[in-house]
Every structure is written in structure tokens, then in C-alpha cells.
């Protein structure tokens, strides 16, 4: 018995270096809750934001410096894909933290728990990016999601926020159930020996034909569970409500960091684990991707709330990214998705920064609040226009480059019809993005201009500059993507 415990401890210690960033995050976040919380009184809680930023910077450094390897009984693997998507998660979280400062100040809702939850959730994402076993995928998803359920319902005096959190929690729990049921079916079908993705791939290929149905339902259920997590149609129903009800920085957070982690898991589970049983999931995933593009973009047209519009648009963007998962060459698919996700995080965070800035003055929720922004805040409006056009994929903005690279891959892999749908629906998306541009530039403003906060100015200008000139730096972007 002691031998087993000793062996376990040795193994853990041996592999601990693989998860240094996660260990660091969890330790620091725990210390933040206690005794850290005692350091600052109620009025000084906003100081946690810069501290969190420093922690995120250190985490990013640890991720960059990490060394490839595999460990924990091959449940976790650290490679280019892990590292790349981990950096995306950190980037998305950093954006959300920066955005939170002003909004939470104005709502007088600064607490240490808010930042600690973001860090815990980030730890879950970092695990998820490297998870190479269905079980580790599952528990990483839960660690990530449970923190976000709380964050969505963070503004507990506000009924919409609580409702959003509740809805998200119920559907999230439900989808986790489906996911774990699918996992158990696959475990059985593969002979009850393994849930490791690479082993599973081999075992499923050898599974007797009598268990075909078992494999099929297992794969399908995992697909449904994962589709819930990334909010792909028809499993997207929670997203618009959760996005609308959540505090806006958390909306920006949900649209970026957890999605990056979930896409990483999607790529690994389907690209590695189910690579041998492609025929079971390609067709359903094709329909899910196509439906996400169509419904996401068409439903966004009718929205009057800015957050709902961005929610539906993020559904559509997930549809595009699923094209990368469909790729027959998993590595090329991962590269394209990573590039798209990186660009998406930059432009989406930028757009949310503008929304949050307006929200600070009790505006920004509705699209009509953008009326005449071009006269009131020329710089802000220009940046918003750049973000929106980039989201629509208009060249030469960097959003076009991401789309171009992804769609290029999809056509190479033979998904011509689906890519045509993607491109045509992105033309539809131009309609609603331009609807906001129209409010900003073609309508007369009401009210007077007000100065902007420093953090928002920083995010907006940095993101805007990146989006504007990103395509010119295409070679560097591709070099980074090739490291995946």
C-alpha cells in the first residue's frame, strides 16, 4: 500500500513540471482568497486587477518556457498545440481582466473572488488545452465551467444576471451529463481498457462490428457535449441569454478564453481520438458547422441588443472554426483554428472594450446607443468600425486573413459547399455589423462627449492597431501558427 502511494507521489512529482503554470495559478488564486483578501479594504479592492495582470503575465511566461512532455499516466500532454491554445486562453483572460476594472468600479462590485474565479477557471482551461484523455478532458471542462457559472451570475442583485447564470448552469450540467455518458459508451466499446485518446483511437479501430452502434452513439454524444460547450447550433440556446445577462467583461471572457480551450479539446478529441472513426462524426459535424454559420448570422440580423448581436456572431464564428476541426489533416486544422482564434480574441475583445466603455455611462447595451458615436468619439467609433469590419472579414483587416487561411484549408480538404456557405453567410454578417457602423456614422448624436478611461483606451488602441495592420504581418502570424 505504501509502495503504491510512494509510486503515485513519485509519478506526480516527476510530472509536476508539466503543469507548473496551472499549479502556480491555483496556488496564487487560493492565496488571494486567503490571506490576500485581508490586505486591501473595501475601497481598495480594485488593486486586485493589476495584481491579476501580473499573475497572468507570469503564467504566460511559465507557459512559454515550458518543455514538451507527457505525463500523469498520459492524461496530459504538453506540446505546441497545448502551448499555443494556453497562450490564447491567457490572452483572452487578460483582456477580460482589463475590461473589468472600470465596470466593476462603477458598479461598486470589486471583490477578490471575481479575479480569483477567473484565475481558477483559467487553470481549468490550461488543463483542457493539454488534456489527452477523455477523463481529463471532462474534469478540466468542469473546473473551467463551474467558475464561469458563478462569474455569469456575479451581479447577484440583478435578476438577468442570476437568470443567465442559472440557465447556463442547468444546460451546462445537462450537457456534461451527455458528454460523460458518451465517454462511458466509448469506454465500453473500446473494451473497457482505456480512455486515452491515442489508445482509444486504436481500440475503436479494432472494435468488433457488433459494437458499431455503441461507438456511433458514443462519438455522437461526445460531439453533442462538446458542441454545447462551444455553443454550436443547435446546442447554442444558452449562449444569447448567458451572454446578455452576464457582466459585460465576463461576456467578453466567455466568448474568447473558454472557447479557445474548448476548441483545443475539440481538435484533440476529434483529430486524435476519433480520427479512425471519421465517418461517424464528419457528417453531423458538417451540419452543426453549417447550421451555426447560417443561424448565427441570420439571427444576429434581428438583434437590437449589442451583446446579443455579439453572442450570435460568436456562434457563427464557432461555425467557421469547426471547419478546421473537420480538416482531414488535424495539425493543419489546429493551425488554422489557432490563427483564427487569436485574431478573433483581439477583435472581439476590442469590440467589447468599446461596448463596456459606453456601458460605463449607462449606454452600450442597445445598438441604438451607438447613434452618432462617430461625432461624439471619433477615435472610439473608428476603432469600433475597424473591429466590426474585421469581424465581417473585410480585407485588408486581419479578420479577413484569419478567414482566408481557414477557408483556404477547408477548400483544400474538399469542403467547397460548406466554405461557400461560410463565405455567403459572412456576407450576411456584413449586414448587421454595418448596421452598427450605420448607427455610429450615419445618424446624428445625442448628448455630449466624455473622456475615456485609460484601460479602455489602451485596449481599444492596441487592438485597433493590430487589426488594422495585422494582414501585413501575415508571415509572422503564420510562423507562429506553424509552431502548433
Amino acid at each position: 500500500m505504501t509502495g503504491f502511494a510512494q509510486g503515485l507521489l513519485d509519478a506526480l512529482l516527476r510530472d509536476a513540471h508539466l503543469i507548473t503554470p496551472q499549479l502556480f495559478l491555483i496556488t496564487v488564486a487560493t492565496l488571494m482568497l486567503w490571506p490576500g483578501d485581508l490586505f486591501f479594504n473595501r475601497a481598495e479592492k480594485h488593486k486586485w486587477a493589476p495584481i491579476t495582470m501580473v499573475i497572468l503575465a507570469i503564467t504566460a511566461y511559465l507557459v512559454v518556457k515550458s518543455v514538451d512532455g507527457e505525463g500523469f499516466s498520459r492524461m496530459y500532454s504538453l506540446d505546441g498545440l497545448t502551448r499555443g491554445f494556453q497562450l490564447l486562453c491567457i490572452l483572452g483572460s487578460a483582456g477580460a481582466v482589463l475590461l473589468s476594472v472600470k465596470l466593476l468600479d462603477s458598479l461598486k462590485q470589486q471583490t477578490v473572488e471575481y479575479y480569483a474565479l477567473i484565475l481558477f477557471s483559467l487553470a481549468g482551461m490550461l488543463f483542457l488545452c493539454g488534456a489527452t484523455d477523455l477523463i481529463s478532458v471532462y474534469f478540466s471542462i468542469e473546473l473551467m465551467a463551474i467558475c464561469i457559472y458563478i462569474l455569469v451570475a456575479y451581479l447577484r442583485e440583478r435578476a438577468t444576471s442570476v437568470e443567465a447564470g442559472m440557465k447556463y448552469f442547468l444546460l451546462g450540467a445537462f450537457s456534461s451529463g451527455i458528454l460523460v455518458y458518451g465517454i462511458s459508451l466509448l469506454f465500453g466499446a473500446a473494451g473497457g481498457t482505456t480512455t486515452n485518446l491515442a489508445d482509444l483511437n486504436r481500440a475503436l479501430a479494432l472494435a468488433p462490428t457488433t459494437s458499431n452502434f455503441l461507438v456511433y452513439s458514443g462519438v455522437l454524444m461526445v460531439l453533442v457535449g462538446m458542441a454545447f460547450k462551444v455553443a454550436a447550433v443547435p446546442f447554442h440556446m444558452w449562449a444569447p441569454d448567458a451572454y446578455e445577462g452576464a457582466p459585460t467583461p465576463i461576456t467578453a471572457f466567455m466568448a474568447t478564453a473558454p472557447k479557445a480551450a474548448a476548441m483545443a479539446a475539440f481538435l484533440r478529441v476529434f483529430g486524435v481520438g476519433f480520427h479512425g472513426v471519421t465517418s461517424d462524426w464528419v457528417l453531423p459535424l458538417t451540419y452543426i458547422a453549417g447550421a451555426s454559420m447560417i443561424l448565427g448570422n441570420v439571427a444576429a440580423v434581428r438583434q437590437e441588443s449589442m451583446k446579443r448581436l455579439l453572442a450570435y456572431s460568436s456562434i457563427a464564428h464557432v461555425g467557421y472554426m469547426l471547419l478546421g476541426v473537420l480538416s482531414g489533416d488535424p495539425r493543419a486544422g489546429a493551425q488554422a483554428v489557432w490563427l483564427y482564434m487569436l485574431i478573433y480574441i483581439v477583435m472581439n475583445t476590442g469590440a467589447f472594450a468599446v461596448v463596456i466603455y459606453l456601458q460605463g455611462k449607462g449606454e452600450g447595451e442597445r445598438i441604438e446607443d451607438f447613434k452618432g458615436l462617430g461625432r461624439k468619439h471619433p477615435v472610439l467609433a473608428f476603432a469600433m468600425m475597424v473591429f466590426l469590419l474585421s469581424l465581417a472579414g473585410i480585407p485588408p483587416l486581419v479578420g479577413f486573413f484569419g478567414k482566408f487561411y481557414l477557408f483556404k484549408l477547408a477548400i483544400e480538404q474538399g469542403y467547397v459547399t460548406l466554405t461557400t456557405i461560410a463565405l455567403l453567410t459572412s456576407a450576411v454578417s456584413a449586414y448587421y455589423y454595418l448596421g452598427v457602423v450605420k448607427e455610429m456614422y450615419f445618424k446624428q448624436p445625442e448628448g455630449e462627449a466624455a473622456p475615456m478611461g485609460a484601460a479602455a483606451v489602451f485596449i481599444v488602441s492596441v487592438a485597433c492597431a493590430l487589426v488594422l495592420v495585422g494582414t501585413a504581418f501575415g508571415p509572422w502570424l503564420l510562423d507562429w501558427a506553424m509552431k502548433i
Partner: protein, 566 residues
Amino acid sequence: MFTANTTLMLVATFLPVLGGLVLLFVPKEQRRVFEVGSLLLMIVSLLLSLPFWFGYDRASDAVQWAGSWTWIPALGVRFSVGMDGISLLLWLLTTFIGPIAAACSFSSILERHKEYYIWLLVLQTAMLGVFITQDMFLFYLFWEVMLVPMYFLIGIWGGPQKLYAAIKLFLYTLAGSVLMLVAILAIYFLQHKTTGSYDFSLASFQAMAPIIAQQSKNYQHLMALAFFVGFAIKVPMFPFHTWLPDAHVQAPTAGSVILAAILLKMGTYGFVRFLLPILPTATKELMPWFIALALIGIVYGALVAMIQKDMKKLVAYSSVSHLGLCMLGLFALNPYGIKGGLFQMINHGISTSGLFLAVGIVYERRHTRMIADFGGLSKSMPVYATIFMIMTMSSIGLPLLNGFIGEGVILMGSFQAFPWAALVATLGIILGAAYMLWMFQRVMFGPITAVNEKMDDLNLREVLYFAPLVIAAFWIGLYPKPLMDVMDAPVHKLVEQVSPGFHAAEALAAKQAVAAKLGMQGMTAPAHHEAAPGHEAAPAGHGHEAAPAAHEGHEHHEAPAHGGGN
């Protein structure tokens, strides 16, 4: 004197946008700075572009002043530029229209000057960029970028229905061009499959033509249709034209001028540069449909123009008809047709911008464009009436003016290819004369009302921006040769790309015709009648070996006569 080179070409192209960046830092109250600044930038860009007209090597069909820099090696994307005669003409048309568009805005744009002139400058660079790029990726970039400034020009400074018109223009064109993007990517991968390299250069795409021709019919037709729809929306060809009247009517004067003179030419340019050389086989197979749409456009555009009450809408629909004629010429796929089509693109750019400017002038003075509100303007505005008349005549193709040459050459070309279509096109030209002259009569002659009597004639600025158009219309009408010369070599190459062996066959046919004529003379001439069979055989055999150079016809002319003597 400058010598033309690649750097100068890039400077002329990017000068407007760089100047626009500088203007960004001028406070927005400085209205004059924006007006004069943008006009000066456009003029400097025009002056920089002029050396290219003189420096162009008319004997060569190669891409001249070519420059190419590595951009995204992993994708085979290069920043490569250069022009042949076809690009050069349209590029020069763009730099030529630029100052006019800026100058005509001084009085028509009454608010938000800063944004307006900056957008105008951005648009100018984007349009110039389309014509110089030699890389498909770069082309697509410029092609799409154009939409954004145009959207703002119409959406902010347009008429009452501007929001609808702006978004319609944007979405329509975007939908068309994304289809084109799919086709571009599909060919890109086909190329990778066959040659093993990733390359977006235009030359490599054009070199794909024979390989594409070996693909399945379905593939070829889908590719051709994707390109066709993308370009047909821009031209616009019937039935994709519905955005045009809205956009034209709602746009400010400069917007209409740029739309008519250059943006529509992007579509026709696309056909010449991409669809025809890359997908010749499929294009020829689908040709009956394309011709039918062009013809419907010609007649339908003319008929709808006839019943318009709004002058601007009338000119807009006349564009549909005229561009249909351009397309008919291009689709003839012979040198005359293509040259005529290109030529008419330039003419349309000159005459229709003139007409839009003319409509803009009365609109600024009266705030109405309804034909019924005017009458007898030739009494109160004689100079205006004269210029309007010259532009009308240029538009309907009166001899001595530019339109005549273009229409004539198109009809020659299309008659060679499909006589019945040329017949229908003639109907469109007649209708064109009818609606234009009818409008001219209703606006300029007849009883004059008190309001119209008080209208001011053109001021100096207005005369100055009309002057280049009038001069160009006469110059092209009287001496079209320089323009034709520039097109000669590239059109020769294009025809050879589309129909390999066309020139050789034509030269052969010409020789046979000459031979037949001489043979007939030989038979009628009693002195040579016993040698007649030898006459017919000798030139035919000679024609097979002969290179298809025109001057050889003369030598040939003597050969049978000589043989006949023996």
C-alpha cells in the same frame, strides 16, 4: 522629365491614401484645407501617372514596370505589381477622374468635409491598386477595400434613401466577390495539385487555363459562373443591376462619377483579366447565356432609361445599357470586339461622368433632378447647355466624338462573331440616342419658367472640371489611334490566350480571301486562264508556312501574280 518606373507607379497609387493620413491630423473646421489638399493630391497623382502613357512600350505585350516583393511565402502571396496596356488605360482613367471628383465636391458637400475627402482619397488608392496588382490575393484585397469608402460616401453624403442604397451596394458586391474568392482558392489548389507549388500570381493563374480545360465540365462551369457572377454584379449586367440605380441616384455627385467612370469598369476589367484568360473553354461554352444577358441589358437598360422622370436615374440606366454593349464587345472574343469593349469602357467613363456632373450642377442649384422641373435652360445657361450637349452626343455616339469610335468597333467585332446579336445591339444604340436626345430637349428647350430663368451659368471651377472631359471626348473622337495602339499588343495576347491559333487562322483566311480574289481576276483575265488552277494551289500552300504578320500580305499579293506570269 520623369521616366516611368515601378516606384513611381507605387507612389502615384498610394499618394492619395498617404495624403489622406496627413489630412487626418488637420482640425475638422479647416474645410478649405481638405478641399484644396485632396484636389492637389489627386492632381499630383495624375501628373505622376502621365509618364507611364509616354513610357509604355506599345510593341510588347508583357507586363511592364513589373515589381514583385515577397509577402507571405508560405501561401505564395507576393506583393507584385505591373501594368499592361489594358491596365494602363484604366489606371490612367482613374487618375484622370480623381481630380474631377474632388473638384466637383467643393460645392456639393456641405458637411463633414474631413471624413468625406479622406474617404475619397482612400477610395482612389484602392481603385488604382486594383489595376496595378499582378497577384490574385492582392487583387482581392484591393477589390474588397473599395467597398468600404464607397459605402461611406453614399451612406453619409447621399440622398434620402442613402442607407438602403449603401447597404445594398455593399452586400450585393460582397456576395459576388466571396463567390469569386471560392473560385480563386479552388484554382489555387488545383494548381498546387498539378504543379506542386502554391502561387497566387496572376501569370500562374493564367497559365492554368489548359489544365483547367482538362477538368470536368461541371468544375469548369462552376468556376466560370463564380467569376462571372462576381464581375457581372460589379458591371452590372442584367439581372444583377438592381443595386446600380439606387446607388447612383443616392450617391453624391462625386460618388456617382466614380461609380460610373471606374467602379463599373472593375467588372469589365475583371472579365478581361481573369475570366477570359483563366477559363476560356468554359467561357466559350457558356457564351450564349452571357451574350443573351448582355443583349437583355442593352435593350432593357435603354427602355427603362426612356421612361425615367429623374435625370440621374436616366443616366444610371443608360449605364446598364452601355455596359451591356461593352460586354457584348468583349464576348465577341475577337480583336475588334475586345478592343471596342475596352475602348468603350474609357468612353463611358468620360461621357457618363460628364453627364453625372451635369446633373449634379442643376441639382446643386435647384435641389431637384426631375426632368419636368426644367425646360429652356439653354437660354439661362448657354455654356452649361453646350457642355451638356457635347456629353450627350459623346454618349450616343455621334461621329467626331469618342462614343462613335467605340460603338463602331464593338459592332464590327460582334458582327464578325454573331451578326444577329450585333443587330439587337444596334437597336439599343438607336434607343440610346432617343432617350438622351429626348431628355436634352425637355431640359434645354421649350418654355422657361421664372425659377429656371434665374439659374446661374457655370462658374470658372465648374468649367475647369468639365474641360478635361470635353477635350478628352474630342481627342479620342478625332484621333483614337494612340489609345488603340496601347491596347494592340495585350489584346493580341488575350485573343491568343482565349482562342489559341486565332490570329494564324485569321491571317490564313485573309490570304485565302486575297488569293480567291486574285484567282477570280485570273479567270476573268483571258491572258492567264490556262494558269488558273496553279494560282489557287500556290497561295494556300504558302499561307500555311507564313507567320501571321500583316505586312507579309503585300509580299504575298505579288507572289501569285508572279506565279501567274510564268
